[in-house]
Symmetry: D2
Subunit: 478 residues, 4 copies
């Protein structure tokens, strides 16, 4: 197909053409870190860029002020590219240094690289749009501005609002330390807050008049620990105590609170398990003569991988090759590893499967597709999208091998040239794969058939009940 | 009052006249030990003796075949004297020896001296009857044949049936190692059996399919242990696990069972506490996805002491003096202490208050009435009688100091001369005090006023629900 | 004894002479509330007053900057009068109103009336000094400036430093809602902080690599709750969880902390029980593969009441009569009860024994001495003084009946005329009783004999180990 | 290879020649069921048969009177064939009926088909011996008489004694409902008995003097249930409470006991986990002031499958075909399913992988080799043999599909013609595969290389410590 505007070479050309603009966007977002649900300026920056490119904007999706959809084109296959832009608390950090240098006490920072994530996805969407626009090709491209990933579920609310329903394929990526197509599933998750109320009393003088909410929290935990033997091995239940009812031992604790996360490779199993956990909480109130309320504070579906899309994306990444890191990139990566990363960090980065990479400072290859899919025990709100539309994800090397997530070490690398290079590669991987879907609808057909097979024909059902508002997640993630 | 047929001297004379017959009855009962609810021959022996004395017999009281009332006289004050005759499992023992010599493997024995208790009370009733009969004095004397004390509640069922309702005063005693009027209260108690049902599964291959009834038992216990901080200090809750669901660790336990006793100085408090325990049991089923049934297996009211009667009884015991133990009695007491009782046994017998008695082999004095009433943490079904009618109790020295209850050491002394002497003293103490009530109705008036004050005007309410039959107690005492 | 300078009338005269000055001191302290160990200005105010009166000051007692002793006189019996002046967090409140009106957010306030306590005791000491000084009577009077009562143990450290060792009698009081001589014992107590350290891990991805410090805290609590059945009924153990290891359920908690208080009517029992608690904590680390450190953060001895002194104090209080509350005092008491006190508050104030007082607004009588001593389940560092020297305490009506301690309702009444009246009465009760001891050494002899009998001849042993510094108590009270 | 004496056809011929004798042996063993470690007559019957065939007998292996080795031949590859012959308690049952008909109350029965297992293996060994003997072929064949499989470890003790050390290949089988080569691993396991000792006391009167051994058992369980979150998902820990310290709630339990099984796919992991469990038990004694002893009561290594041998065995089974069940066999299978097997039994028999077999009464095919190995969560003492020598196992259809192990339904089929047919097939599968090893040493070389790779070069280490004697396992299996 000569001069095919959707060919890899053409898409690469278009990405390269606008790469500098979107690297600049990423750097601006890096410099204005905003917490989950508070990404007003970050969303506005994205919207401004995309409007300028001719995208139509729909804001305030699913009741979230900082969620938006930017759309271009019409008819044909509809491609979604997902972006994020929320930061993390207490991670403000000077750029490009190898020691911990907060820019402000307690201020947020982009500890998960979502500045790159949002901008790289935008770059992919724009390049794809440019290809469509140039030739008048049918098809629609959408950029999804997805807030509050770190609060456990921006996309879940967006999914609940139906904005992914008419998509034909969706793409996402994450800045990381390795180049690879993501093939694993991830657990479905439900998060809830349990608030117990008892009756205070002096613990020495009249303990028999007190009813301890803290006892209820403890008995709930005990009940759950007994349940562990009798739940599937692949499920996970974990908790934190978020209010102990005070620091004074001489007062029977009248109030106490805990947060639970329940995970399973299958949402219905997670829901069943959560129902058991809730029943245990009720039982704990009966044991202690206290009362309780439950509040769902998050939820996401398990990820349904899509091999049809992954195979195409892998082939594209193979052809694109790794980011072209230069001496300076490598030098800084080596420096930060020496100064601020541990051997354990490095081993955690590469895992046993890729142990040979432990002596590499920046990943300059592409991981092979694994024989088995596997399941990450963690959870992501991309899961909800993946239940609605065939979805593929990759990650690219933006940071020195060994850089842990949610650390100043990651923040300090977030606007360096190496990060830009990883981001641009991700944009190319997504845009070329999306282009392949547009010019070869058979891929979408196969991907949809696979999705249907994986869902067993079950329609997507949002794990967050309608009565839970995005507000409710602000306080705590799953 | 000259030649007063109800005077102490006259009553003593009458008791002495028939003492040998009733010591012989006691020895026969000793030799035919029958377990709780099975005392058919023992009851028959008592009935035969009392019928011969002219008592009218009503059998099968409160649904218990071995409970009976023997009555003599008419009108006037009605005096009740309570007897027991049940034995204990696995305590068959040769008489009069100082080592463990079972007469038959596993056979029962009179480890609590109820052979003496039943016969001594009968002797008191008969002596009292003789006094009434001789002079045509108005008044009624009743002997209550109370079975199954060791199963936790013959008298409770009899009380439920109303057979104590028209009494004016009741007397009881217990063979023991010391001579004293009993002044303490004793706890109200409720006993129940909790049966949990889960679902078996192979504990290695499919533990997630199992629902452990043993987990439920454990979680109930945990819940109760958490409750301890928040219940009155003077209450007691204790348990035994009576079925663990099998000895195989590789099977999730589908069945398990525990027994709980709940005690408090006040029955309503015991009931409230029991309701909390029951709720904890229900909660344990919710935590484990199991089910449960509760069965009440016993209950008795707290003892309401009656100082008005105690004072009279104390004065009589003071005048009667201790049993006249002879050299042979003392020699055997010394021998058995040397051979078969420990220093701890002796200290437990005499308690700190009477520590000077620790060097005595058979008690030859009378304990003074204590300044404060106190409360025994244990329980007795005499409690139920004491809520209905003013009740006084004493104990007398029948066994060597240091002899523990429910042991072969007690059994072996149960038909010796010393035991007979203690029994005869008890008969005199009860009969003379009852006689005082008959000739001085003012005592009864005072005693009833005191009872009313102690109940706070509350009517007796049986702690065992109507739907629980005596049968249900056979399996286990509180 | 005519014109006896130590007679009740003379002492009363001398207290009245300086009452206004010390009410003013109390009001100044009320207006400068300082937390435990931080009472620098409050201590300075007291010192200034007492220096002006001719007392010799020794500061910085037992390593506490705000602890001091003020002494006057020489030889003869040495009388100690104990004062306190620390405030409580978050109780700043406008005076004389019937609604909650904080003067500053989070600021401290005198929620326990220690402004009155310190000033009233100083008034007693000064009046006593005046009596001695005037006539050149032999004898020494000391005012003890005792900080940090609310942090659980200023006096304990002072006792450890030996400053009470040569006293012949000690007096103390507490502002309250009733007039009475305090006769009850109070529990000995030990407080400790348990810090657990585990290993963090992702709770979904690698829980098997984590070792939960929070599990250790919970298992320690469970172990203690199981121990409850097997410890004396009159002991108390209670706890607070002061660090849960974070609010994120998806991280295995690497750190957690709890605080325990252990109490018993007898210090050795409290110590034995604390040793069991500590062993349970160690066991919890073994169960969870974590480690732990224990830090003692407080301790005080049980109170040994002294009937010899109480009887004298009671006779003086009887002669002194209640505070002379006027219409305005009563009107405000009625007003605040209506507006801000509940029926439960009132019942808690008067307890079943004095139920008739529930309809009174300000106590205008004197409670009779109870027949039995009893034991308060709470604890006070006066206990340590009471082990060293015969000690008597009273409380006087300073606040409306129903006013709970540690509330804004108490703060708002802390500088009103009624409070002043109660304080002056307490000063008189202490000073007259101390004067009786000076003129009648036989009282001291009897009091010391009683103390000796109560200690069983055991010397005072400080419950806080030498290696624990006052600093260590700042963080948390027992 | 013409007239190859080790060819499948020749081996089949030799098995058929003696099949009747060994079916008769099996029937005799079926009729004399003996419990683990008590198989004196059963072992003697096997020994007699094998001695008659010319085998050399070594008895009393590893300290077990009923363990023996029977050997024939010399030099060359040494082939081991493993037999078992212990029965199970309380399963005596009339043969060939479809209802529960015990032949004697409480008597043992062959509920696991070990009568067939021992005789079938003997038949294989004898056929192989006949082939060697006939032609003077080099090589040694051994029959291992392995007792006490049901008590959890006869072979483990034999392995500890070194009797498998010089083998070149080992074969085993199990009578079952399906024909298949066994390919799964099975967990390593350690079993132990924990005995706790406390101090009795009256639970109402003096609970504070008691130290509850039952509390220790419960707290150990709680500790383990907390550990579950922090152990590998593929490990298993389960327990039974085997002594609760008595049925009387009013006595603090002075003695209690539990049994734990710890399993893991890797023995060192099981050992590490067991060490944690043991530490938790010690911690439970510290929490309760009790003491404890641990007794190892069983242990076995995980099974190391050997694909090299399995492939050969599968090929032979494919060629041998299924047992030739006739109408009568099928009729009885149908009958017993109707009368005495449930739908759940059938589903448990065939598992989801072979669901189509649920409508079959007797398995007349051969299951395909699965793609993945998998791991049975249960355990077997064949694991220990498999660590020392390449080992292959099959199972054959001897019973109606749906027949559960350890039931009278299995016993009643244990000497029927269908069972004989399955047994003879197993003998052929083992003997032909062993013959292949003898004539093609390359198989052994490959099998040994695989074993070495699977052990990672680690030498076999017996999971049962030297100080544990076979005696110690009599009481309870893992």
């Amino acid at each position: 197909m000569e001069n095919d505007p959707l060919s890899l070479d053409e898409i690469v050309r278009r990405v390269n053409a606008k790469a500098a603009d979107y690297c600049a966007l990423s750097d601006r977002i890096w410099a204005m870190p905003e917490l989950a649900f508070e990404e007003h300026r970050s969303a506005a920056e994205h919207i401004a860029m995309l409007e300028r490119e001719g995208f139509r904007i729909t804001s305030n999706i699913g009741g979230i002020a900082t969620a938006f959809v930017a759309e271009y084109g019409k008819g044909g296959p509809i491609i979604g590219i997902l972006g994020e832009y929320d930061a993390l608390a207490d991670l403000a950090q000077v750029s490009g240094v190898t020691e911990h240098m907060p820019t402000a006490k307690g201020a947020p920072g982009h500890g998960c690289g979502h500045n790159l994530l949002g901008s790289g996805s935008a770059l992919a969407a724009v390049a794809l749009k440019d290809a469509l626009a140039n030739e008048g090709i049918a098809g629609t491209v959408r950029y999804y501005g997805c807030p509050a990933e770190e609060a456990g579920g921006g996309k879940t609310f967006m999914a609940r609002a139906g904005v992914f329903d008419d998509l034909d394929a969706a793409f996402c990526w994450h800045p990381a330390v390795l180049n690879e197509v993501l093939t694993k599933s991830a657990n479905a998750a439900i998060g809830a807050r349990f608030r117990f109320k008892g009756r205070a009393s002096h613990a020495a003088a009249s303990p028999h008049l007190g009813r301890s909410a803290l006892d209820a929290v403890e008995l709930m935990n005990i009940g759950v620990n007994y349940m562990r033997e009798h739940m599937p091995s692949d499920a996970r239940v974990h908790y934190a105590i978020t209010n102990t009812g005070g620091d004074a031992p001489n007062v029977v604790q009248a109030f106490a609170e805990s947060i639970y996360s329940v995970r399973s490779p299958h949402l219905p199993n997670a829901e069943r398990l959560f129902a058991r956990v809730k029943k245990i909480a009720e039982a704990a109130t009966m044991m202690t003569d206290t009362s309780m309320t439950v509040q769902i504070i998050g939820g996401c579906s398990n990820v349904l991988p899509n091999k049809a899309l992954q195979d195409v994306m892998y082939e594209n990444m193979r052809r694109l090759g790794p980011p072209a890191f230069d001496e300076a990139d490598l030098a800084f990566a080596e420096e930060i590893r020496e100064a601020a990363l541990t051997e354990d960090d490095v081993l955690a980065s590469v895992a046993p499967d890729n142990i040979s990479l432990k002596d590499v400072f920046l990943h300059d290859g592409l991981l092979a597709m694994p024989a088995h899919e596997g399941c990450d025990m963690g959870s992501t709100d991309v899961g909800d999208v993946s239940w609605i539309v065939p979805t593929a994800q990759c990650q690219t090397a933006c940071f020195a091998i060994g850089t842990p997530f949610h650390t100043w070490q990651l923040v300090t690398q977030g606007n360096l040239p190496a990060a830009h290079k990883g981001m641009v590669l991700a944009a190319k991987a997504m845009a070329t794969t999306a282009a392949d879907c547009l010019r070869n609808p058979e891929i979408i057909t196969r991907a949809k058939a696979e999705l249907k097979q994986r869902t067993g024909g079950l329609a997507y059902r949002c794990p967050i009940p309608m009565e839970v508002a995005p507000e409710d997640l602000r306080t705590k993630a799953v």
